[in-house]
Amino acid sequence: MNFIGEIKFLVGAEKRLIDVLDEAQILPLFKSAVKAGIEFAAVVDDKNVPLWTLGPCPPASVVGEENWDARCKLLLEGEPVGAVCLRRGQVNPHGCEMMAHLIGDALNSIMANNLKRMLTTEIHTRVVNQSYDELRESHRQLIESEKKYRDLAENLELRVQERTEELKRAYARLLQQEKMVSVGQLAAGVAHEINNPNGYILSNLNTLRKYVGRMTSMLEYYRGLHEAAGSEKWRELKLDVVLGDVDELLDQSVSGAQKVKQIVSAFKGFSHVDDMGVSAVDINHEIDRTLGVLSGEMPGDTRIIKEFGVLPAFEGNGALLCQVFLNLFRNAFQARSEGLQLIITTEHEDDTLRIRFSDNGPGVPDEIHGRIFEPFFTTRDVGHGTGLGLTIAYDIVNGYGGTIEVENSKKGGAVFLIQLPATGRTDGQVR
């Protein structure tokens, strides 16, 4: 049904009689009336219930319109809301009537004034509150939009930073890729150029050894034919020593050429010119390989201690992994040029391959700890290192879903820890 009793006006809500009159305003009037001889005075509401009274307490029977001698209506906004009622006592009926109207008029104007005051206060408070609310609302909106812009600005900076970072990394990767390609091509070319001549040097040396053997036999045969002169000349030419030396010379030459052959093949293997794709990689082997090409860069008194564990084959690109190790080796070589001791441990635990490079260098200072994998971050003098080595290592490891981190060991020195997911086939265990 249409019952909306709860709804109230915010301004100009309906007032009741008791809202717009109070005892302090009524009593003086009633007192005067009683002094003038009125027996009993009351203000009753629209249901004739007394609200304020003066005089001896009226019997219940008094509460009824017919029991009063004089009444004057009280109007609130034109609506009858009650009345002033009098029992005349010693006052004559006409005088009582007069008095009722006098008091009624006075109360009506008091009510009007009170109502006006209340309405003024109400609207004033309402307007002030509303303005305050509006102010707060606009303040809130301001703060909100400010926050939005601030967020935007902050994010912008962050995003620019991120993008810059990404760009740097992309650039580093590009550089690295290019370098790898050219290194690979170079390696392939050089390997070919060296392998060919080195090949016939080796085979010629072997042939030469055979020939030298034959010539030695011939020389000994001649010496037998001309005992005296032959022995004289033999001694003069120190052929005993020479022939003894020839063997050694040839041995050394062969082993030298073989060494060249080894280095070239290690170089080829390292640059992985033959396979740039993914294959089952033996990490321990790749570390050895990398070490092989670095022998020239390694400070003379370096001690490398390998503590290799049994690792499953790693499904990846050997060339890339060699890059990782190369950069870690170089980093170690630069960390300490004399008396470097580098311990390389590899281990396999559950799903993780762990490779540790622990050096006895000065360690990584705290202030650069967080930046060491950043592109172009280098503590080295210009010309030494691109500042990309560790970034490249980081990127490659990251690309395999692994992590690389650095810590300082308790004994001093840096420990680089690479953790790779053991993706490799477990059947292909390689030592």
């Binding site: 249409n2 034109g78 609506e79 109502l115």
Partner: protein
């Protein structure tokens, strides 16, 4: 919005005289007060004014009782027209059941009328009322003055809207009752359609208007 308390058998209706500053809203109420008998209405309450300009509002209350015993209070308010009192206008406009827009006929006031009408539309929206729904009449006041917009021009503009327009000269009492009666008429229709004043309370439109508009005999 009609305040209706079925339990208490009370209904409170609210009419608002809106319009630009100095258009004659207060004068309309003063005239209504003068033209109508004391019977059935309260006194005109003119809240604080400053240089005769309304700061809060004016209020002329009416009271009538339907045959069913339903007691109806109808309160007619004016708003302050000055632009700066917008918060007060909003407060007074809350839950209005009908609006009389008092425009100033003077040519110079055209844009003020326009702005004020826009303000009315906006504030009705603000207090959750729809200008299309609220009973509305328009009064062009100060017809006694010289430089005023011609009636044909006004009709040309307003008639298509379907809103009733009245010419008045509130200062001299012309058009004031007409405006009020039409607003009351429209408001009755609106309330009757929702609460069945005639059907449920035996109060038809004639009775409603007769109780509301009791002309003083000396003015008739």
């Amino acid at each position: 919005m009609i305040e209706f308390d079925e339990w208490e058998k009370r209904m409170v209706l609210k009419l608002v005289y809106y319009g630009p500053a100095m258009s004659g809203k207060t004068t309309n109420l003063l005239m209504l007060h003068d033209l109508l008998q004391q019977e059935g209405r309260g006194d005109l309450m003119v809240l604080d004014t400053k240089d005769d300009r309304t700061i809060y509002f004016d209020l002329l209350p009416f009271f009538l009782v339907a045959p069913s015993g339903l007691r109806i209070k109808l309160k007619v308010y004016t708003v302050p027209g000055q632009v700066k009192h917008d918060a007060t206008r909003k407060a007074v406009l809350q839950r209005a059941d009908g609006v009389a827009f008092i425009a100033d006929s003077q040519v110079s006031e055209t844009s003020n009328n326009f702005n004020s009408f826009q303000n009315l539309e906006k504030n009705l929206g603000f207090v959750g009322l729809d200008i299309e729904q609220v009973p509305l009449v328009v009064q062009f006041n100060k017809r006694d003055l010289d430089r005023i917009v011609a009636e044909e021009e006004i009709r040309r503009v307003w008639d298509p809207s379907g809103i009733p327009v009245f010419m008045s000269s509130a200062l001299y009492g012309t058009g004031v009752l007409e405006t009020f009666v039409h607003l009351a008429d429209r408001t009755y229709a609106y309330v009757d359609s929702r609460y069945g004043l005639a059907e449920n309370h035996g109060l038809d439109k004639q009775m409603f208007l007769a109780q509301l508009v009791r002309r003083k005999t000396d003015h008739a």
